[in-house]
Structures are given as structure tokens and as C-alpha cells.
């Protein structure tokens, strides 16, 4: 075997993140890793993400999705991530099971829109918005694993920063992420 003294240049893993039908709470919790973000940027660089404001996702090692799928745009973004990311992670309750937005699922979409925009007293009666810029809502809100294949799930509403940190460091070290008692939470 050749004695290879030069350490190979460390290539950083490329990571993309997005929030679909979520509240950005998971991203906020992600930022709660505080100064550990300095350790993280030694290991990763960000592609499409609210952190970079890059609009479309390029080839990535890891994609992290917050939020479920509630409209047509969410479907397109999710497919873009699946196409480009080697590993796709569902982060937070909404991505995992639809979460709060999915609590509309037993109601009829038209009834909801009519009540909110037309009939409910005290709310503005401007009619149901139909600007072509607005993505069309889906009849039901879906957890993302019902739309594309998801490799890992990180539940929590939001997952605490320590859980996100444990999850990411396990993953970056090539281990199957393991959250024990106290870190694994559905709430």
C-alpha cells in the first residue's frame, strides 16, 4: 500500500432546507443549536435554505423538510428536494404526520374557504382569493412521506435543538440517528 501522507481535503456536505406547510418553528429550533452552528458549518455548506435565500435546490447530500404538503407549490418543492438530495429528512410534527394544518382534513375545503372569506361575521368579506400567483390548496394536507420517499424522520413540535443536534451529528458521522428518552418527542 502506498504511504499517503497528505490528508485528503475535507469536502463539506451540501445541505438544503425548506419549510412547506409549517410555521418555521422547526427552523427556529434549528437555530437554537446556538454556537454549535460554528461546528456545523465546518462540516456542511448550505444550498437552498431560508438561511441562504437560494431559490432552487441543486444537488445536495442532505435535504431537511419542515412542514407537510398543503398546496400545489409544496408538491413541486418537495419533488425538487427529492430529485436533488441523496438523503431526505422529515423534520417536525407537520412533516411527519401533517401536524396542525392537517387538522382541517375532516372538513370540506370549500366550506373552510367560504367560512373564512365569506360567511364568518367579523372576518373581511373580500371573497375567496384567486390570484393566479397563489398556489392552489390541496383537498387534504399530507405528511411528506405520503408524497415522496423519506429516509429519516425527526419528530417534535418543534424538535428541541438538542434533538436536532444529536440527529445531525449522528447522521454526519455516518450513524443511524438515535434519539433516546427525553429527546424523542411528538409534541
Amino acid at each position: 500500500m502506498n504511504a499517503n501522507t497528505a490528508t485528503p481535503a475535507k469536502t463539506k456536505l451540501r445541505v438544503a432546507t425548506t419549510s412547506l406547510a409549517g410555521c418555521f418553528g422547526c427552523h427556529m429550533s434549528f437555530l437554537d443549536i446556538d454556537e454549535r452552528i460554528l461546528q456545523l458549518v465546518e462540516l456542511v455548506e448550505f444550498d437552498r435554505s431560508p438561511i441562504t435565500d437560494i431559490k432552487h435546490c441543486g444537488p445536495c447530500d442532505l435535504g431537511i423538510i419542515e412542514g407537510g404538503v398543503c398546496n400545489a407549490e409544496n408538491v413541486h418543492v418537495l419533488h425538487e428536494f427529492r430529485k436533488n438530495c441523496k438523503i431526505l429528512v422529515a423534520m417536525g410534527a407537520c412533516a411527519v404526520n401533517g401536524g396542525l394544518p392537517a387538522q382541517r382534513n375532516h372538513l370540506d375545503l370549500r366550506d373552510i374557504l367560504e367560512e373564512v372569506y365569506q360567511t364568518e361575521p367579523g372576518l373581511t368579506h373580500g371573497g375567496i382569493p384567486n390570484d393566479p400567483e397563489l398556489p392552489l390548496p390541496l383537498n387534504k394536507v399530507h405528511p411528506i412521506h405520503e408524497v415522496v420517499k423519506i429516509d429519516y424522520f425527526l419528530p417534535g413540535c418543534p424538535p428541541p435543538a438538542d434533538a436536532i443536534w444529536k440527529f445531525l451529528t449522528d447522521l454526519l458521522a455516518g450513524r443511524t440517528p438515535h434519539l433516546g428518552h427525553g429527546l424523542l418527542h411528538y409534541d
Binding site: 422529515a90 410534527a93 411527519v96 404526520n97 401533517g98 401536524g99 396542525l100 392537517a102 387538522q103 382534513n105 375532516h106 387534504k140 399530507h142 405528511p143 412521506h145 405520503e146 423519506i150 429519516y152 424522520f153 425527526l154 419528530p155 413540535c157 438515535h178 434519539l179 428518552h181 427525553g182 424523542l184 418527542h185 411528538y186 409534541d187
Partner: protein, 234 residues
Amino acid sequence: MSENTFLLDGEAIPFVPGQTVMQAAKAAGKYIPHLCWHPEFKPHGSCKLCTVKANGRFVSSCTMEAAAGVTIENRTPELDDKRRTLLQLLFVEGNHFCPSCEKSGNCLLQATAYDLGMMSPHFDHFFPDRPVDASHPDILLDFNRCILCSLCVQASEQADKKNVFVMGGRGMRGRRIIINSESGKLGDTDFAASDRAASICPVGVILKKRVGFAVPIGERKYDQAPASVVEVTK
């Protein structure tokens, strides 16, 4: 091996004749995951979470009488994997939005899923449309979370002698808990917040009003210790 013992994951567990495998295991401090079993009531044997392998055959440990010399597998990767699948089926069959559930942290379904490392519901969700009954002054019923364990039925019948809850209907969507009053409303029964059935539900269906967050999230039963510890010490 002494006379009245069986082997549970390689360890000799003593039992008193007449005890079930579940009872003997619990007495010995060994956790067998379970949902519909409760020490105060006759086993219902419906959730199948407690399935073990006795001499190589699948059997519900909450209904199987302990017998000398039987070799039982419990916390094996194979069985825990099947248990996770059962849990996932329960989660997608109801509406379990833990962040907005008062029972979160005190819920046996949730705590068992944590203990077994259930990271996702895996299957497609049913998102069923199930009723909420707020007619009673002190108790709220949210059937979106019912796992049909029948503990409320047993507690109301055997402990309270009231028969407020009845298991009725057929099939995947038809089977449900029915309230035994003409209107079908809990407010029209003699149910009381002090009834045993009012505090028996392992999940977030039967909830006492006005105390939902008296104990904050993070300081609840299964926040202190995992189900595998709580369930053999209580």
C-alpha cells in the same frame, strides 16, 4: 430451573400458579409493552402489543397463563419491530396530534411509541372524522384518539357499576365506544369525574375539564422516566 419459573429473554421469572406471563413479568420488574392491559382489570387481549414468543409461538402475554419451563422471547428485535408496526397502525387509524393533546406526556400510546423508537407513522393516514363530546360539565371526550382498549368499558361496568361506556359497531370504521344514554351524550348519563372510568383511559379520550395543563408539558409521568420503567414500577 426451579419449579414455578419460566424463562423471559433468558432470565428465570418466578410465578404464582394462576398468574399470567404479564403479571409475573411485571412483578419481577420486567417490562412487556402493552396498551389494553391494566393490572386492575381482566385482560382484554385486543391490542397485541404484548405479543411474545412462547416456545417459538406468538401469544399474548397478558392472557397467557404462566407455566413452568416455558421459554419466552420478549424484547427481541423481531418482536419490537412488529410492535412498532402495530403502533404505527394505531397512530394512522386515529387522529393523533400530540402537540395539541392534553394527554401528551401522560399518554401510554405515545410513551410506548417513544420506548420502541417509533420515528414515523410510516403508513398513510386515515384522518377519520370522529366526534368530540363536551356535554358533560366535568369531562370531555375526544374519540379521535380512541384505541378501543375497552378499559373505560371495564372500569365503568366493574368498578363503577354504571355501564356508561359500551363497545359497539362493526368493522374498521364502525367499531367504536358508544355512550349508554338515549341521546348518546355523556352529559345525559350519571357519569362522575370521581368514577374510576374517568381516569382509566391510557390515551387522550376521557379528559377532565379545567385541569388539562395543571402539570406542565415536560414534567409529566413519562417525562420523568420512559414507559419501560414507569410501567413496571407503578
